[in-house]
Amino acid sequence: MSSHSLATRTEKTEPAPARTRRTRNRGWKPRLAPLSILRLLILFGFGIFCLVPLIWLLLTPTKTDAAILGDFPLSFGTFDRLAAAWQHLTAYSGGILFKWMLNSVYYSAGSLVITIVTGLLAGYAMATMRFPGRKTILTLTLLSMVMPATVTVLPLFLEINAVGLTNTAASVILPASFFPFGVYLAFVYFSTSVPKELLEAARLDGCSEFRAFISVVLPIAKPLIGLLAFFSFVANWNNYFLPYVMLSDQDAYNLPVGLGALMAGSPALHPERGGSFLPITRPEVALAGLIVVIPIALLFLIFQRYLVRGILSGSVKS
């Protein structure tokens, strides 16, 4: 069975067994009660451990540095203070934060477009056509998919440096466009969810492969495009090591690398190391962190289903 149908089955069957099991436990095994309580304690306990840091991060930019040290950690400050933190942060280094935001959007979107176009075409070809070299590409894709992308970052720098492209947008966008996991998702999707009859009908109609791809395949690939866009965006928005190595010019940083520079360079996190006239303190740095995190957290909340399905098709198959 495909991973795909596994995921949908998961959603469908959830409520039913829960109900039957609950009633049965109640009737048969009252001795389970302490265990159930222990189960809930562990689950809620870990849930709180997951949520508290995120809530803290949301609240902290609304407080003064002194309030962060003195007040209850999970208290709300004022909106005025949040506005002040925003002003300090955007004034930092001549408004460089806006440059980092734009760069983040530009790098992520650039890689996303190239990833989707190349991934759809290649995944479709490997799933529906047989050609010499197919198996090699498929195997290399699987291998590079399970190897962490960071393993080639330093060699990539040597390569990009050899052609004189370091410190350019291309040095981040192009390597990040190589996204084997996306190609694998496309391959699995087209292997399992494009009916052969549909393609054969299109071919009999005299459509060229490319026309058939545009008019028949693309319309049914919309969920796949969403999935690819989601995973590619999350990976690239959070990318640190590649841009950190490729870009030496602060103006070219993306948000995560900019945040790293802010943390390392401003006295916000180590005030004991000496005074500074910069108004960059803990709330400002926390706000910068929040700006990096919020887009991804929102995507997680909105596209939960994509998330689960993509992760499952990467591993769970029966």
């Binding site: 902290t60 070809a125 960071t150």
Partner: protein, 296 residues
């Protein structure tokens, strides 16, 4: 015969036209850097022009190399068992009673995964600082009263393990939970009829059936842990604990940018590449995860 051969040639030309853009990316940013790193690692800054093992000898005798291996190994030894046990425990607990609570909790466990890289370092730097952390009572109970107590060099491996665990566990719970959902309902029911309690069912029926996913998780975790860079690099620049060569990737970075010695940087990369390629080869060819894809 000729027409069909011509048709086959035409259709593989079409297939290649579809595959070529991706194949170029694969070649340029997957294969080429690996090949280039291997070549570069056989050069050496001392004897430019000749190929040999000088850089390997220099890296292996560098005073920073073995400590970096030790640090990364310690990080793995803490993180991987914690993650394996934590993931299995939480996934089994969630699977014990499937429903709305279970799916809400899965989402909550996933959310910390939105905070990775430099943002995770920022967040956990604060979370571990007893002066500002909401977990301050727990930190004080452990005898940690200020940031100097917490951020000592000997605490770095467990701190990185904690950050890696909290950001990654949600994703692995989704995988394990999916695997548990794949167990036939009848199997669990019949175990219950045979008198197996929740512990018995979990340990004797469920766990053996998801064993291969545990192996999958361990291999990927091993490959990911080898690469650790952001956390030690930023923690070093903020707290001055650790060093600029705490991990292997940091050492490679120091070779390339601190000393301008690309040959030794490439050597470190090749060592990492070989280790993660071994893990990847094992996963793709020695487990049945990608069997259908490899053989199709």
């Amino acid at each position: 015969m000729t027409t069909s051969r011509r048709a086959a040639a035409r259709s593989s030309a079409t297939a290649w036209a579809f595959t070529a853009p991706y194949a170029l990316l694969l070649l340029a940013f997957g294969v080429a850097p690996a090949v280039y790193a291997i070549y570069e690692s056989f050069t050496s800054a001392k004897n430019p022009g000749s190929l040999g093992l000088d850089s390997y000898a220099m890296v292996l005798h560098d005073f920073r190399f073995w400590p970096a291996i030790g640090n990364v190994a310690l990080f793995m030894v803490i993180w991987i068992p914690v993650m394996v046990c934590g993931t299995i425990l939480l996934a089994l607990l969630l699977h014990e009673r499937v429903g709305r609570l279970s799916s809400t909790m899965r989402l909550i466990f996933f959310l910390p995964g939105a905070v990775t890289g430099s943002a995770a370092v920022l967040l956990w730097y604060f979370m571990l600082d007893p002066q500002v952390s909401p977990f301050a009572p727990a930190l004080h109970a452990m005898g940690l009263h200020n940031s100097i107590d917490v951020f000592t060099s000997s605490h770095l491996a467990p701190i990185f393990a904690l950050v890696a665990f909290i950001t990654g566990v949600g994703q692995w719970i989704v995988v394990m939970f999916g695997a548990l959902q794949g167990i036939p309902e009848e199997l669990i029911e019949s175990a219950k009829l045979d008198g197996a309690g929740p512990f018995g069912t979990a340990l004797l029926i469920k766990l053996p059936l998801i064993r291969k996913y545990v192996i999958y998780m361990m291999i990927l975790a091993f490959a990911a842990a080898l690469q650790i860079f952001v956390e030690p690099s930023l923690f070093y620049s903020i707290t001055q604990s650790g060093s600029a060569w705490w991990s292997l990737n940091q050492l490679g970075f120091a070779f390339a940018f601190g000393q301008g010695d690309f040959a030794q940087a490439a050597t470190v990369s090749v060592i990492l590449l070989v280790l993660s390629a071994a893990a990847a080869l094992f996963l793709v060819f020695r487990t049945d995860f990608f069997k259908t894809e490899v053989e199709s």
